[in-house]
């Protein structure tokens, strides 16, 4: 199938879905709407709301007398904090990135450490499994208590999600280095430090990058869920506020913004992945 046909078919799915939504919510069939506006809003309302949110938000930022810099933009107590959609997006983005960076760094470090020390790995094994099996949402209230309503309680939630994905992948990556490559590297004269740099590290990173989409996605999930459960800013907060007033249009608008936001981030991840995993055969790189 060629590219154009594929794109057309993909667009067709959206058109049909939005069409059904529109008819159900705006065209009475036999006197009733099978998707009542109160519960489902309408595509036109949602589109208008998304547009207004961004337009108003831009106006608010533009007319703000305070100097616009990053620290002011995310400072909830700053007088200019108008809670525009841009600020919500920025805060969610910052929380997600911090969660990813901290979670990935910890996952790589501990994954490596345990993979190279079988005894430690055996000792910690049940605890790691236990923590991983725990639904992370139950930790959110604890993090709120510990770290407050600011961004760090959301970052912490994201970290607990990202850490395990990266940890397991790095652990696996170090454990499953091809024995032939390892023996070859040893025979070439590599010492432990050189083996780490030239064999274990690239192997572990390749495993980590192959799970990049999942871990970045989970970082954002952690941020949004954290915001939803208790915060004063962010996309999750926006959606939660709309829900609190039965503002279905607001909830759907938040979901649309979140979906587009995640798509854009995913696209960036694909770009990064393509650069970093250039040595991988296409089939193997595609599996991630």
């Amino acid at each position: 199938m060629n590219r154009v046909t594929l794109l057309l078919l993909q667009a067709l799915v959206a058109v049909v879905a939005i069409g059904i939504w529109h008819i159900g919510s705006s065209v009475p069939i036999g006197g009733t709407y099978f998707l009542p506006k109160f519960f489902f809003s309408t595509p036109a309302d949602v589109a208008t709301r998304v547009w207004t949110l961004f337009a108003d938000g831009t106006v608010k930022i533009a007319t703000c007398t305070e100097p616009i810099d990053l620290t002011r933009l995310i400072n909830i107590s700053a007088p200019c904090f108008g809670k525009t959609v841009w600020q919500h997006l920025l805060i969610t983005l910052i929380e997600g990135l911090l969660a990813f960076a901290i979670g990935a760094a910890a996952g790589v470090a501990i994954g490596f450490w345990l993979a190279r020390h079988p005894l430690l790995s055996a000792i910690f094994d049940p605890y790691i499994k236990m923590l991983n099996a725990l639904p992370r949402v139950v930790l959110a209230p604890i993090f709120l208590l510990w770290l407050g309503l600011g961004i760090w309680s959301k970052v912490a939630l994201g970290v607990t999600l990202v850490f395990f994905i990266v940890f397991f992948n790095v652990y696996q990556g170090v454990k499953e280095v091809s024995p032939a490559i390892l023996a070859n590297a040893r025979m070439l004269g590599m010492n432990e430090r050189q083996l780490f740099r030239n064999v274990y590290w690239p192997s572990a990173l390749s495993w980590m990058f192959s799970s990049l989409h999942t871990s970045v996605g989970f970082a954002i999930i952690g941020a949004v869920v954290g915001e939803y459960l208790g915060s004063a800013a962010g996309l999750g907060y926006m959606i939660q506020q709309a829900e609190g007033t039965f503002d279905t249009t607001g909830v759907f608008a938040g979901m649309v913004i979140l979906a587009v936001f995640v798509l854009i981030i995913d696209w960036f991840v694909t770009l990064i992945e393509r650069r970093l995993l250039v040595w991988r055969p296409p089939s193997a790189a595609g599996q991630g």
């Binding site: 023996a183 070859n184 025979m187 004269g189 590599m190 030239n198 040595w279």
Partner: protein
Amino acid sequence: MSDRQAERETAAQHAPAAAISFDGVAIDFPVAGGASYPAVTRTDLKVGAHEFVAIVGPTGCGKSTLLNVAAGLLAPSTGQTLVFGAPLVGLNRSAGYLFQQDAVMPWKTARDNVAISLEIAGTARAEALERAQGWLKRVGLSAFGDRYPHQLSGGQRKRVGLAQVLIRDPKVLLMDEPFGPLDAQTRQIMGNLLLDLWALDRKAVLFVTHDLEEAIALSDRVVIMSAGPSARIIGDHAIDLERPRDASEVRLLPRFHELHKAIWGQLRAEVLKAYGEDAG
């Protein structure tokens, strides 16, 4: 011919020690239940400093095991290995090992894979890359330096592996069915490449293969191993074919056929025995 023989004899008299010398080497592998599986029984074998020795035997006879002992990757259960007269402890630092499987690092380009051999020994990166390019040229890959292993064919990856090992200039070359996974034509081309490179300085080579024709075409001596368990050396044949040889054309010589017939007669029984064991 007679000159070469004389040369060899004097060399033998003056040579301080063989490149590799297995001295009563036996290898047992532990199996479940505390028992052990005798893979190789007491083996004595010497590989001269400039000698190309091939080990042939049925599958599973412990040829590769013996090679791993020579590399120091595996310690023998009894006996010892001498490398240029000194007992081998740990990895064999004077040996280069070409593995049967792909062992080049998939995350490095062909050039980096070759250069890393020098870099880990302390050569500056710029110089290492330059010399790596020289070796890539020698193995016929000068235009492929920037390719990653998955962008190369199986034969090309073997060439990278060969350059990676030879750039260190090891005194001994250990090869474990290096061309095994390649197709017949590529194998002969790789055989010729190996002979050309070997002719430059005649390193000691221990070449494990299951392909008798390849063994005869390349080596000075063909050693036959019996079927396992308790594999041992059951034959040692000098290959008196003139060098330089062409790995494919040498197969047409009458002498090649005589040698092949003589050695195959011995090997055949062992191969059948190995299949019999498998069937049982």
